[in-house]
């Protein structure tokens, strides 16, 4: 599998609405290398080889959508980036630093990587507002008043400020997932990981979550999104990565990928999901 080059990415960039030249330039200024880099990553679950020699580089400000059939290792890939899954071999580098082992430095790294889960995972015993402020107060040591103010503006942005004092169980799935996005953003992350963020939602709630994600992509956030939402992949991604059987089979800009998939696996996958 050839590692994706930053040069290759720029072609795709032009096709995406909302990502300006200024974003790209600002992104390039912080550090020359990619923000997230995986090299020869392997992972087994027992006998199952879920990640096979995965190489992937994600540039600053880039939106990468990972698609593929169930069990292809997409979620594992996503979770490995902030070490919720450990890997057996290979290297993962975030912002120039190899992922540390369990401990305080790993916690620091995780604070810089926002994560949104399929099942929201909002803290059930805390209100929505507390869910959003907890990280900034306890991890970033922000003043509670400041954290609250910023949390409210984030909740405003994702459209659920009026729900701030409710408990997660009192909200709809779509609202919970938007709260979870606000919670992740409150940490001012350098990158956001989305692990099938809309798969547990009723169909009518998928749109409200994707809208928030699309807006985020437009603002230049670095995003790695595992999803089955082809519409989102088409209009928000800079690059689509297709995974099957633990391997990165194919990657290309979204237009190129959906119009002319090269591999048989991708053709087969697309024919199955796009016929309905």
């Amino acid at each position: 599998m050839r590692p994706f080059t930053v040069a290759g990415m720029t072609e795709a960039k032009g096709t995406v609405a909302g990502v300006t030249e200024a974003d790209a330039a600002a992104g390039a200024g912080v550090g020359a290398g990619p923000l997230v880099q995986l090299e020869g990553v392997n992972k087994h679950f027992g006998h199952l080889h879920v990640l096979r020699d995965v190489d992937l580089a994600v540039a600053r400000g880039e939106v990468v959508v990972v698609i593929g059939p169930s069990g292809s290792g997409k979620s594992t890939l996503c979770r490995a980036i902030n070490r919720l899954e450990t890997i057996d071999s290979g290297r993962i580098v975030f912002d120039g630093q190899p992922l540390p082992a369990e401990g305080r430095s790993l916690a620091r790294l995780r604070a810089d990587v926002g994560m949104v889960f399929q099942s929201f995972n909002l803290f059930a015993h805390r209100t929505i507002l507390q869910n959003v402020t907890l990280g900034p107060i306890k991890v970033r040591k922000e003043k509670p008043a400041e954290a609250r103010e910023r949390a409210m503006s984030l909740l405003e942005r994702v459209g659920i400020a009026s729900q701030a004092d409710k408990y997660p169980a009192q909200l709809s799935g779509g609202q919970q997932q938007r709260a979870a996005i606000a919670r992740a953003l409150a940490m001012r992350p350098k990158a956001m990981l989305f692990d099938e963020p809309t798969s547990a939602l009723d169909p009518e709630m998928v749109g409200e979550v994707l809208d928030v994600m699309t807006a985020l992509a437009g603002e230049g956030m670095t995003m790695i999104v595992v999803t089955h939402e082809m519409g989102f992949a088409r209009h928000a991604a800079n690059r689509v990565v297709f995974m099957a059987d633990g391997q990165l089979v194919e990657q290309a800009g979204p237009e190129e990928f959906f119009a002319n998939p090269r591999s048989d696996r991708a053709k087969d996958f697309l024919s199955k999901i796009l016929t309905h």
């Binding site: 620091r108 990587v113 995972n121 991890v139």
Partner: protein, 220 residues
């Protein structure tokens, strides 16, 4: 009937009952606080990311839980003084009860932690929380609710286990009957009064359990 109440009122019998149960309560309160603390720590060890701590927690539970309490008492009261450490029976009894009960508390804590969906801990870790924060801020507050009933059972069992200390020179409720039979009081009456004493001690624990369950049922 006069005999029955006489058990409490004859001579200074009331004093013996009072001293016995006071010691029982002291033994219980000290050992409860210590075993809850130690059990909580052991429970945290059993779910920690450090393999050595996990192994220590598991080893402790497996050894202590499988040892009869009488044996733990015998160790502390007969064997430990042979090492040159001279401790009074009362503190030794507190230690014995703590060491033994902590193993059960540990398992209650661990099962409580297991009732909290893994996603809660993952989300907390993904925010950059340390192990202590994940456990203290996210997991344990959600786990205590399901820990309350089994924890109360463990504490009630411990309250009754304090009577074993009677066999090791601690004057507590379990020792009352020996004193009474020396004074020729009827066995039946004495044992019934001791039983009633324990029931009275346990009732507040049950009420406390109800209170906690109701209090924590709301917040979610």
């Amino acid at each position: 009937m006069g005999d029955f109440f006489g058990v409490l009122t004859n001579g200074n019998n009331g004093r013996v009952f009072l001293d016995g149960f006071t010691n029982t309560v002291e033994l219980f309160v000290i050992a409860a606080l210590c075993s809850l603390t130690l059990g909580m720590l052991l429970g945290a060890m059993r779910v920690s990311p450090v393999p050595t701590l996990r192994a220590f927690g598991a080893g402790y539970v497996n050894i202590v839980r499988n040892t009869p309490l009488t044996l733990v008492f015998a160790f502390l009261i007969f064997a430990v003084p042979k090492l040159g450490l001279n401790i009074n029976p009362f503190p030794s009894a507190c230690v014995a009860l703590t060491v033994y009960t902590a193993a059960f508390v540990c398992e209650v804590v661990r099962s409580g932690i297991n009732t909290v969906p893994t996603g809660q801990g993952e989300a907390a870790r993904a925010l950059g929380m340390t192990f202590g924060q994940v456990l203290g801020l996210i997991v344990l507050p959600q786990a205590v609710r399901s820990m309350v009933p089994p924890l109360m059972s463990v504490l009630i069992a411990m309250l009754k286990n304090t009577t074993i200390a009677a066999g090791f020179s601690v004057l507590e409720a379990g020792a009352i009957q020996d004193y009474m039979s020396e004074r020729g009081e009827p066995r039946f009456g004495v044992l019934l009064w001791v039983t009633i004493g324990f029931l009275i001690l346990i009732l507040p624990l049950v009420a406390f359990q109800r209170y906690l369950e109701r209090k924590w049922a709301v917040a979610r």
